[in-house]
Amino acid sequence: MKEVVYKTEEERLEALRKMVGMRKIFEARAREIYENKYGISVAQ
């Protein structure tokens, strides 16, 4: 377990973008699971 070190600010910015964008991935997965399970679409 160790700190992640970025060599450039561009790398760090990409990591930050990924970090703040993860919520959408989680939400898409959750909606897919729900729709597969119940066979209905959940309103976005």
């Binding site: 377990m1 160790k2 700190e3 992640v4 970025y6 600010e9 760090r12 910015l13 990591a15 930050l16 973008r17 990924k18 970090m19 703040v20 993860m22 919520r23 991935i25 989680f26 939400e27 997965r29 959750a30 909606r31 699971i33 729900y34 959940v42 309103a43 976005q44």
Partner: protein, 163 residues
């Protein structure tokens, strides 16, 4: 990926929780609102043990106060922290008014956790692509790498903010 016990959660949660992944769950409230709650591994600033926390209302409905929702979520979070070597990361996008309101709720919850003395809460603000975000980490005070994790978190964001 961390594995949380749905059985342990359902022993104490007011709403019946269904496991949809190692660390993700769904529950439906008495008003028919479906929530997804869980954690996703995040390696942005530390190589292991950090998970982003999510609570998402999958229904289009908005509801009034329902204490059983926060109680159910509290039980899920406590099951997460049954593992000593984990860190909870929460990101809030302030461009969304609903997110901002949700963030206020989480901050109240997290401060409550902090007050009980078992957990430590740390916040950072940042601007990415002209959007302002709040980020918070919550971890147990007896986390074996407490100082290193916090140092990594603050370095990650402070160096961006100073850049």
């Amino acid at each position: 990926m961390i594995n949380l016990s749905v059985n342990a959660i359902n022993l104490r949660a007011p709403y019946k929780v269904e496991q949809t992944g190692d660390a993700s769950f769904m529950f439906e409230t008495k008003q028919g609102v479906v929530y997804s709650v869980g954690f996703m591994k995040d390696v942005s600033f530390f190589s292991e043990g950090v998970y982003q926390f999510y609570l998402i209302n999958l229904s289009s409905k908005t509801i009034g106060t329902d204490k059983n929702i926060s109680e159910t979520v509290r039980v899920v979070i406590e099951e997460f922290f049954a593992h000593k070597e984990v860190v909870m990361l929460y990101i809030c996008d302030t461009s969304d008014m609903r997110q901002e309101s949700r963030d206020r709720l989480f901050r109240i919850w997290f401060h409550t956790y902090e007050k009980n003395g078992l957990y430590s809460l740390h916040n950072e603000g940042m601007v990415i692509d002209n959007v302002h975000y709040f980020s918070s980490v919550l971890l147990r005070r007896d986390h074996p790498m407490f100082i290193k994790v916090l140092s990594a978190f603050h370095n990650f964001i402070d160096e961006h903010n100073q850049g």
